[in-house]
């Protein structure tokens, strides 16, 4: 809390949004802050905490959106992030988002939050779903039971959100934190007695660390290893606490964690029995259940899954996708290029300037910009899968298949997202509880061909496989999946050995995706690519143009082969010679492709001197035919697919692996695999007489 003493009115506060996955936290966050963060319908959308400022309030209120968690026990990475934030940063108020349509399970977290000694406001979200079911929730009884303020809200409809923040503000401003009276009512007398004893033991430690003594006692009684390590609790103290825990275990004939969880759930049941009256009986099938009976049916599940995936590919890479490319190609490479050329000529611009703008910048940016709509279509479908709730079912359906490869169904979500962009996909691997499973998923995810690689395939397929473009591009995607499968088996067998974590995942109810939600995500991604074209690709284009225009002695060269770029390309091209593409331009393109994979296309565009002639990529295709054969082109596409991902994804891998050793192993493995696969394609193809 920061006070501005001089004026005495302006203050700044921090409120944290805490709740179960899929309870609508991110929607609430967007509603409060006016942000447009993407909201998905699968557990683990918010993998990192996000910060925003509350609108419509005079005070300076920071809102922190934490990852969705089921409890404060640090068992998954998200739970660790969320818990560390809450207990260490101590927000002024916790806004606990509770999904009213799944109230009992959601309140389990609430019973833990109210023990932290931080004021809590419960936002009973999705109240509209409850109303629709004609169930009744008595708010007063709920407030009485939990000893906290409860407000109803529907974040998706924007209802009750301001009131929640107002209430939180009121709590933050009232200097005295109302100690909730209820905590000791959650547990049985036996547990309370033991807790009291532990509390006496840890009082000093609590004062030193600033944690609430009761919370600390409870966590140590549960033998929370993370906390024990963090506070460096002495073995003597731990063994005293353990003794108390064992006494309880003997009394209940159960283990301590179960006793405490059971106590919490029984407390909740007691409150719920008074506060909630249900019209619907528990055992009726919901709409979601009925859909699941079809979608996860033992006969239909796989065919439905394949049908969904194939239709997405068909629309994105078939007629509709290629239509947008043709249209934009003409627009950029004929209309804009022609316009700029005449403008520059009329203005009497110097030749070098004309060359820089038309051959460098426009050729570089244009050759990738044409693919933005198609990439947006891919993202449209990915968000459709996420928002509807099908993504989580696909993970369930694929679990059995993936388990044979040494992965869990949870790995499916990051991998599918990988078809959009590797960066969020690699981050999505955080939902995997087991470290080895997570590492393996991170290594394999970039083999799923991201949107940025698509321009490369599209270009080569058009140039060399004009009649079968769709099939060839599709085969590259399949190749990526196949390599991931083989790598999974190989790595699990020899490097990341061990049991795969059991698949346990909450399935969100199906929801009809809103057009608003879908377009936010799609436009956001599209904007991201355009921005990338305007910044990274723009800069790369200028540098590449410069390096291919000047020689090592900074003389303007007639033939790009004599340029700096030509020199570098020839120097490294021996690496690629066994793969068939030993031309210096191909080598350079792969090198620059590490900046961003689309840059492979812009580099080839610039190096082939396209742009001047306003025929665009058709011209580039003809240029490529001078130094590629169809076989070489296919090997090149395979290499582009598999070799190390762009620097942004590299950064994400480094962050998520949290180890240089594993990061370097990942990109080394990927690049090695790329080389080997391209080598096999080219050499076997040559033997078969395809070269």
């Amino acid at each position: 809390m920061v006070f501005n003493d001089e004026r005495g009115i302006e203050m700044s506060y921090t409120f944290a949004l805490v709740g179960n996955p899929n309870s609508g936290k991110t929607t609430m966050f967007n509603e409060i802050t006016g942000n447009t963060q993407y909201v998905g319908n699968w557990p683990g959308v918010t993998v990192e905490k996000k910060e925003g400022k509350a609108r419509r309030f005079k005070d300076d209120i920071s809102i922190i959106d934490l990852p969705g968690i089921y409890s404060l026990s640090p068992y998954t990475m998200e739970e660790i992030i969320a818990r560390d934030y809450i207990v260490d940063e101590k927000p002024d108020v916790i806004i606990n988002i509770v999904d009213a349509s799944n109230i009992e399970r959601n309140l389990y977290l609430t019973t833990q939050l109210i023990e932290l000694g931080i004021p809590v406001v419960v936002a009973l979200n999705m109240i509209d779903v409850v109303n629709l079911r004609h169930d009744k929730i008595d708010i007063e009884k709920l407030e009485e039971g939990f000893g906290v303020s409860v407000l109803v809200a529907s974040a998706s409809k924007g209802l009750g959100v301001t009131e929640v923040v107002e209430k939180a503000l009121e709590l933050a401003k009232s200097a005295t934190v109302k100690k909730s009276e209820l905590s000791h009512r959650i547990f049985d007398n036996e547990v309370e007695d033991s807790l009291k004893k532990v509390k006496e033991l840890v009082n000093m430690l609590a004062n030193k660390s600033g944690y609430s003594a009761r919370w600390l006692a409870l966590k140590l009684l549960e033998e929370d290893i993370k906390l024990k390590e963090k506070l460096d609790v002495s073995e003597v103290m731990m063994s005293d606490i353990k003794k108390l825990g064992q006494e309880l275990e003997n009394k209940y004939d159960n283990d301590i964690e179960t006793i405490i969880a059971d106590n919490r759930y029984r407390f909740i049941s007691g409150v719920i029995a008074k506060a909630v009256s249900r019209k619907s009986k528990g055992n009726t099938l919901t709409m979601s259940d009925k859909i699941d009976k079809v979608v996860t049916n033992r006969i239909l599940a796989i065919p439905i899954f394949l049908l969904v995936m194939l239709s997405i590919f068909q629309v994105s890479f078939g007629s509709i996708g290629s239509y947008t490319i043709d249209w934009l190609d003409v627009f950029i490479n004929k209309t804009i290029s022609g316009f700029l050329t005449s403008l520059l000529e009329a203005g009497g611009a110097a030749d070098w300037l004309k060359a820089l703008i038309i051959d460098g910048i426009l050729a570089g940016m244009g050759s990738m910009l044409v693919f933005v709509p198609q990439i947006m279509i891919v993202f449209f479908f990915l968000s459709l899968l996420e928002d509807s709730g099908y993504m989580a079912r696909a993970a369930f359906v694929m679990d059995r298949v993936l388990r044979k490869l040494g992965l869990s169904g949870k790995s499916f979500i990051p991998m599918l997202m990988g078809f959009g962009c590797s960066v969020p996909a690699v981050m999505a691997a955080r939902t995997l509880e087991n470290e080895k499973d997570r590492r393996l998923t991170i290594i394999l995810t970039p083999f799923m061909s991201c949107g940025a690689r698509l321009p490369v395939y599209a270009l080569f397929a058009a140039a060399f496989f004009a009649k079968n473009q769709g099939v060839v591009i599709f085969s590259i995607y399949i190749l990526g999946i196949l390599i991931a499968v083989l790598s999974g088996i190989f790595l699990k067998r020899f490097i990341l050995k061990g049991e795969v974590a059991p698949f346990v995942m909450e399935l969100p109810p199906y929801r009809i995706p809103t057009l608003k939600g879908l377009s936010i995500h799609m436009l956001d991604r599209g904007k991201g690519f355009v921005k990338k074209a305007g910044t990274v690709i723009f800069a790369a284009s200028v540098i590449i143009w410069f390096l291919q225009t000047f020689s090592f002695t900074f003389q303007m060269v007639e033939n790009p082969a004599d340029s700096i770029m030509g020199g570098v390309g020839r120097l490294i091209s021996f690496v690629f010679a066994p793969l068939g593409f030993n031309d210096w331009r191909a080598s350079v393109a792969l090198l620059t492709g590490v900046v961003a994979k689309e840059v492979v296309v812009s580099t080839l565009g610039i190096l082939s001197g396209v742009g001047e002639i306003s025929e665009g990529s058709a011209e580039l295709a003809i240029a490529l035919q001078t130094y590629f054969t169809p076989l070489k082109a296919y090997a090149f596409m395979a290499f582009t697919l598999l070799y190390m991902p762009c620097v942004a994804a590299f950064g994400a891998i480094k962050r998520e692996m949290n180890s240089w050793k594993w990061t370097l192993f990942t990109v080394g493995y990927q690049t090695g695999t790329a080389w080997l696969v391209a080598f096999l394609i080219y050499q076997v193809g040559k033997v078969m007489g395809l070269g």
């Binding site: 998954t76 969880a261 346990v504 909450e506 399935l507």
Partner: protein
């Protein structure tokens, strides 16, 4: 009996859980504690979609066989 033996649509009460501590704790956080009433919504090759309270939890066959229920 293990949860895998329960037929689709029938209700049962969780008796105890034989999974390792970590998995068990996670299941408890999701509401799968002894005494909880569960039913199976769908079954696919041994993997289950379970209805517990108001939520639906997907479980792989291995972990489902470690949950012991009484009907």
């Amino acid at each position: 009996m293990p949860l895998t033996m329960l037929s689709v649509g029938k209700e049962a009460k969780i008796d105890y859980c034989r999974a390792n501590d970590k998995t068990k704790k996670y299941l408890e956080d999701l509401g799968l504690i002894p005494g909880a009433i569960v039913s199976i919504v769908s079954e696919l090759g041994g993997n289950l979609i379970l209805s517990v309270k108001d939520s639906r939890i997907a479980l792989s066959k291995g972990v489902a066989s470690q949950l012991i229920v009484e009907s």
